[in-house]
Symmetry: C2
Subunit: 335 residues, 2 copies
């Protein structure tokens, strides 16, 4: 079932069919209808691979660190909503999270498949690597703060978000506030990555409030397991922290588990705050104070920017959303 079959069935040339498929110029309404009818009748569907050889694949690739984080679906759904109408399909690949090698392979997989645009969520790769990809394929990077002339950026103001969270804990009277950060395996360790910003801002805010001596960071990862391990490290200190600011809700969940195992009550003994305001954080049994960033808008914007780039825009755009604090029951004044 190829374009040739459709052409002979509709008594037109393959060129005509191709034009109809692409809404190209030079087709009379009569022919369009005839071709459309033939396509429906035969149930024809164009092969993406053959299209890729000459033109577009109508595919947007999304690189996710992993699909465990409940914040990513918001982004992906926003993206899908935005590009579906234009006939684009969203495909996702997992980047393997902590190891830059796995991420690199995932990005290459998207490039090899000639997707028309790539959204990379918090990639670990060096800026040079990202720009190499962006030189070939329209690219939007989400969650990194550096500016680039070749790709667009969509990000949350992580400084503001961190200030909100840490400021909230300080306002409650906490002084020994610890932080759970993500340690990535990359040698280059781009300082512009969101977790680096959050960690740095945590230290800055602590210092500005005269709490530099109480800075304590467990560099594990933004996962449940990382939060668990990080909390155990932090609890080993004497005196132990009275509050923990986790760089992501997932890590905060792990922190809650570790605190419970240690026999500590939240928030009576230790307060916990997260970041991302995932739906799980709102559950009554968890009720996690968290920083909210609008993932759906970020996803939609990323989609729009990619479509613009596919259509030819060359200038670089930077879109920043402002986070808000959602205080819940996991934070309270220190004991």
């Amino acid at each position: 079932m190829t374009i040739t079959d459709v052409a002979s069935h509709a008594q037109v040339s393959t060129t005509a069919v191709s034009k109809v498929l692409r809404n190209a110029y030079g087709v009379s309404p009569a022919m369009r209808d005839r071709v459309r009818a033939a396509i429906d009748e035969l149930g024809y569907r164009p092969q993406a691979a053959a299209r890729a050889m000459r033109g577009r694949t109508f595919t947007i690739g999304v690189l996710l660190p992993h699909i465990r984080n409940p914040f990513f679906p918001d982004i992906v759904d926003g993206m899908t909503e935005q590009v579906a109408d234009a006939g684009y399909q969203v495909i996702m690949v997992q980047g393997g999270g902590a190891t830059p090698t796995a991420e690199r392979r995932a990005i290459e997989a998207l490039v090899d498949r000639q997707v028309d645009g790539i959204l990379m969520i918090a990639p670990l790769a060096s800026r040079t690597q990202l720009e190499e990809v962006a030189a070939t394929t329209p690219t939007v990077v989400l969650g990194r703060h550096e500016r680039s002339a070749v790709y667009d950026s969509v990000l949350d103001d992580d400084e503001a978000g961190t200030e909100l969270a840490v400021g909230h804990l300080i306002a409650l009277g906490h002084r020994r506030i610890a932080h759970i950060a993500q340690k990535d395996g990359s040698r280059s360790r781009p300082a512009a990555l969101l977790h680096a910003i959050r960690a740095r801002t945590y230290e800055r805010v602590m210092t500005e409030h005269g709490l530099a001596d109480h800075i304590a960071v467990a560099a594990t990862s933004y996962t449940e397991e990382g939060g668990h391990r990080g909390t155990r490290q932090l609890l080993a200190a004497t005196p132990r922290p009275t509050a923990i600011f986790a760089g992501a809700d997932m890590a905060a969940f792990g922190a809650l588990a570790a605190l419970h195992e240690a026999g500590l009550r939240v928030p009576a003994d230790v307060s916990v705050a997260g970041y991302d305001n995932t739906s799980m954080a709102a559950l009554a049994h968890i009720s996690l104070t968290s920083v909210d960033q609008d993932g759906a808008i970020m996803g939609r914007t990323a989609g729009r920017l990619l479509l613009e780039r596919v259509e030819g825009r060359a200038s670089s755009v930077r879109f920043v959303v402002t986070p808000t604090l959602v205080p819940r029951a996991s934070t309270a004044p220190p004991p």
Copy 2:
């Protein structure tokens, strides 16, 4: 950067390069080394689209109902682990969950991209539709109980799992046990889908224990929102149920939220059990009794079966995992 460039750089034919790339027969070790060197030197990467025109794409497509359910990552990770060594890349598409139209589009997207194999997780499509796809592309269906000669099945013994959960509640002394099920939008409504099995088995177990009069089902969806809405429906009955068996952990989380809002304590007033034993269920603050099924093994097996089919196996395989019950603090004797 094409195969021709590599060929001329290595002073061999394109055929030779192609053979090396595919590990095909008819290459001397000397030539293989020479070609490999040229490939590395030039940083050549084969274009998936061009390969797809003649041969394989080395891509496995995974259809997910959505990426919000924390059980799916286990499956995807198992799959990835299994096929990565063979050089395959896993790409994921979202099926839109409740609407068969969105799912159909997602499946078509995978077929159009000529993936070498497809894993469909709990698809809603009719068996006929699935078999049409499977006739063209090696297919593994996860979470459906019907037998097919053209695709392989990987599933959890949902009858056994449901018996464990409902039996556990009955053994605790509950009689008014309600169920939260998934209502799919399909007209055909395949009875072999996992949620249909769970609902049917729930009714059977209740009946077998003489509790037919206490059967109460809220047909919403296996999501947090569905669990929330379903629970509100169930609580409207008088007398209200003393236990809720949600067909999935996600729905159980929604149930916990709704119960909390209604001022009911878990498990003192109402017990709650889920299915999937997601990592969230284990959190101390939630401590949800749940049915565990090994997603990693299911994913690995699905990967193995797909690779076998790509290699030519035509017979049909069915792989069933046996679930276990993980009792936690969300279930207790009725008040």
